[in-house]
């Protein structure tokens, strides 16, 4: 029997992997992928809570769909920015993008 706890553990694991990826990956595209993992951790949470706590309502599922749509748009934007940076600096290495400072 799969309980709410299982889903939450899965979600926490995904979130953790995502955070780890964001903080450690050097490749900008990798960071973007890690971000997607965090989004999906949230989605799993949403759907799981919706199913177990309010089975009659579909708010959680609805939000998950919205998040997927927004995440797609966000990925497009992120990739576009990375592409622009690549054209300018010939690299997608996050360590070399350090102009956001004093």
């Amino acid at each position: 029997m799969i309980t709410l706890g299982h889903y939450i553990v899965l979600s926490v694991l995904l979130f953790g992997i995502g955070v780890f990826g964001i903080l450690t990956r050097r490749n900008a595209i990798g960071i973007l992928m890690s971000l997607e993992l965090i989004f999906n951790a949230v989605n799993i949470n949403m759907v799981a809570f919706s199913k177990f706590l309010t089975p009659d309502l579909v708010y959680g599922e609805l939000f998950a769909i919205f998040i997927i749509a927004v995440a797609a748009a966000e990925s497009v934007l992120g990739l576009a920015i990375i592409l622009a940076i690549y054209r300018k600096k010939q690299t997608v290495n996050a360590d070399e993008m350090n102009i956001m400072k004093y």
Binding site: I22, L23, I31, M100, K101
Partner: protein, 634 residues
Amino acid sequence: MEVGDLNIILLGYLIPFLPLLAFIIIVSMTKKFRLTSAIISISAIFISFLLSLILLYFRLKDTNAHNFIEYNLPWLSLGNFNLNVGILINNLTAIMLIVVTTVSLLVQIYSIGYMHGDDGFSRFFAFISLFSFSMLGIVVSNNLLQLYIFWELVGLCSYLLIGFWYHKPEASDAAKKAFVVTRFGDFGFLLGILILTYNAGTFNFIEIEHYLKAGNMDAGLLTIVILLLFCGAVGKSGQFPLHVWLPDAMEGPTPVSALIHAATMVAAGVFMVARLFDIFSLSSDALKIIAYIGGFTAIFSATIALTQDDIKRVLAYSTLSQLGYMMLALGVSGYTAGMFHLYTHAFFKALLFLCAGSVIHAMHTNNIWEMGGLHKKMPITSITFLIAAFAISGIFPLSGFWSKDEILVNVYESGNKILYYAAVITAFLTAFYMFRLYFVTFTGNLKDEHAHESPAVMTVPLILLALLSIISGFVGIPGTEKSIYNFLYTGEHPHEVAMNLKIAISSNIVALSGILFAFLIYGLKLIKAETMKKITGPFYVISKNKYFIDEIYLFLIRKIFFAITEFVKWFDRHIVDGAVNLVAFLCRWAGAKLRLTINGNVQSYALIIFSGMILIIAVFAIYNPEALRIFGGR
């Protein structure tokens, strides 16, 4: 409301409004057409004058002097506190409207001649119209705030007109001096108004009066409030010690001196006290102080007037002295006498100034010792000046006699001997310096052959004012039923004014001896002026230098005031600014250190954000486990 009342209300709004309209038209349209501007301004004040006459007629028809008509036009509403543009028409207003419009009308006609060929001709008439509007506004106001606004407006007009020839440094300095000195008084006035309104919850004269009569205010506080209100009058009416601005204000064009600094604006202080007399009379202590200040100003300025060389300055000190007389009358509860003197004084003092203007116009100098023998060349000016001089000296039966005599009777009946003798001595001095002026200027050897009589546009107002100086006193003959006293008096029972023959005759003798004295010295030259100078010695020097008041003020400002400001400046620069700079320095120092942590790497930023979040959760978990519920905990 009756139809008559409605008419009066309409008149009350129209009379001040017309000069304002003239001002707007001149400023916006006819600035380039000089004569048109003058005609617009004069027609406006002429219509106002006619309307004032109608209003006076309405008031005369009403046999009950207590009646008044009040009307409020809502202006601002702040919560349940309402500000109104109101008018309060009573007998006092009616008289004052006549005084202001008459003098303003005649002075404006005179100005066509006097200001002829001046570059600022249109500007002059615009300012005079604005002034007439403001002054009439003071007269009809029914609440303190409105009164104060118009009060400041006349101050502004005074400033603009004293500095009319602003290219002369003396004129612009005098304008600034007038503005700053009166500000001292106005500050007290504003404080008084605010304290009154804070307590009574209204600006309205009559409501405040009811509030105070119900005994709602502590007597000590009431005295202070009344003295604060009186501060305004001290500034505007040039009472000691704020009198220093008025003689300097003579730098303005002479018609301005006649209108603003003799007849109307400087009398606004007296008028204000008279208008609020029901409030002022609630504190006998305050009235006593007012009487002493008035009496002192009267004799003090008269002694200065004795030795001045500038024809307009003599008249300015004379104005101060007469205003002191009015204040003295108000201070001894001679409310009607004070107002009566204001009314007669407006005519003869305006006349004196306009005559002086006529002389200056002919001679191009203000120094009386460069004049002389002008009677032959300028007969009309000379004769009208003589009439005014007799009137101000209080010679029977000219207007000044009736009003001055009434003040003397009031002071005498108050039982204060010091003030009475001060008033009598002032009467002597007044007669002396006026006739010193007359003899030196108009008799003796002719010193300038080019002098000529002024054009008719200037002499006709002189003649009309001379006529008024003669007849305007007849409304105040004591003992008659329909005298100005009963008209103005608002007390309980009819105001009986008996003629005090002893005082009347003695005051005339005093005045005549003053004239005789002046005649002996300056007319016949039997007594040499030089000898008098030697006999009086130090007194002459003191009087000539105006008691060194200006020098004392300068000393106080330079040595004491500047020393204080020097300290304040140091405190501001080092302590206040230092504190501000310290904060700025700390911020910059902290920023310089902290910015090193910002290395530009996005991932390190993300790490900081995550660590921060975890830190917050940790803090919550330790101090407030309940709050963890927002993160989904139990």
